[in-house]
Amino acid sequence: MDATATTPNGDDAPPARVDLRAEFNEVGIGEVLDQLDRELVGLKPVKTRIREIAALLLVERLRKRMGLATGNPTLHMSFTGNPGTGKTTVALRIASILHKLGFVRRGHVVSVTRDELVGQYIGHTAPKTKEVLKKAMGGVLFIDEAYYLYRPENERDYGQEAIEILLQVMENQRDDLVVILAGYADRMEKFFQSNPGFRSRIAHHIDFPDYTDGELLTIAEGMLNEQNYHFAPEAKAAFERYIGIRKTQPLFANARSIRNALDRIRLRQANRLIADLDRSLTAEDIMTIEAGDVLASRVFGKEDGRDR
């Protein structure tokens, strides 16, 4: 008996009508999208693009259900933007959306850079790349600074081997995993120019803008709030100034720099509190960041050479 043979009776025929709202509620992406809006500050264009992609995939799901789909869509993406603009964070959310919509089976993210894909000697690269691919199957493979895979100055570079395996899997195993390439916009553009195979396999390009000063402040307040801290009013003003100055300095990495700055500020606050052991503290004292905790930062041009 052939289990795959079905007769076109009422049960097996595709539905003539589908209920969009029921489908939307059933997959539960509304909650993920709202959470994305709520928890991530700014990123307006990114959020819009993700809503568009989610809409497209929801319709694709309906088309599948109605027997109108023509194969699985390409879902590989590229995320371009400066460091700390939220690419990794958004990749995690995308994975969860793809999972809820049924376009990946598990919904986990495996995040790698060149070092995890490319080997040191002949015969080392293919197994390494495959190892990573196997772990990513069923989910999303996030390749940070993907352009380092391609080193044209060295014609024997093993990166090329990794690229070829990746391209093959991106093409032939689209049901098994989604690849997201991430990195600086300009370098990524050059990478795509030299590797047209990648560009043609990528369905969605999403650009991550830098955060404005106001957004960085909101991000800072959110991060503090999460850890049960908050700025005193003068500390908030000081941190606004901090942001303005830090942005002009080298190695500024948007929200990541904010996270790091807050770590150091909490350290200074703890030191300030500990300095007076005879004092009794209220919860408010322990939660409050004072202006001095911010202003002691090296960013304000104090001579102290330590990394503060």
Binding site: R105, R106, K134, G138, G139
Partner: protein, 140 residues
């Protein structure tokens, strides 16, 4: 004679879909999945060759199926078995093992009888295919 070793060997061969479902079960339990191949079908042959390393930290069966298909491309004329190892404390052993590929023709085993002292009999089984050198046993 159809070789019956490991789980499921008295059932018809599993389809790839059925194999993938078993693999997914193993992965969901956190077991490491491993592929091995041989052309010596003797039941006491414990020296199967490993196809790469055991696969750790996989979430989805597709990764294992990819390796199985590559192994079949090269050793499709031999026996391939898949095993799942549970490393958790107290188990530390294989929890599931079954054949996922077999040669087209399986000539089976000959039973040799050796008459020894008194009326004693010694028995030994010999795979017909093992008369040929390794690598040439199943027309490969």
């Amino acid at each position: 004679m159809r070789l019956t070793q490991g789980c499921f060997s008295f059932l018809p061969d599993l389809t790839d879909e059925q194999i993938a479902a078993q693999v997914q079960y193993a992965l969901s339990k956190g077991w490491a999945v491993n592929l091995e191949f041989t052309d010596d079908p003797h039941p006491r042959n414990t020296y199967w060759e490993m196809w790469g390393l055991p696969m750790f930290d996989l979430q989805d069966a597709a990764g294992v199926m990819m390796e199985l298909n590559e192994c079949r491309k090269i050793y499709g004329d031999r026996y391939i078995r898949l095993s799942a190892f549970d490393s958790s404390h107290g188990w530390e052993s294989v929890r599931l093992s079954f054949i996922v590929n077999r040669p087209k023709d399986e000539p089976g085993f000959r039973l040799d009888r050796q008459e020894s002292d008194g009326r004693n009999m010694r028995y030994t089984t010999r795979a017909y295919s093992a008369d040929k050198p390794e690598g040439r046993r199943y027309g490969g």
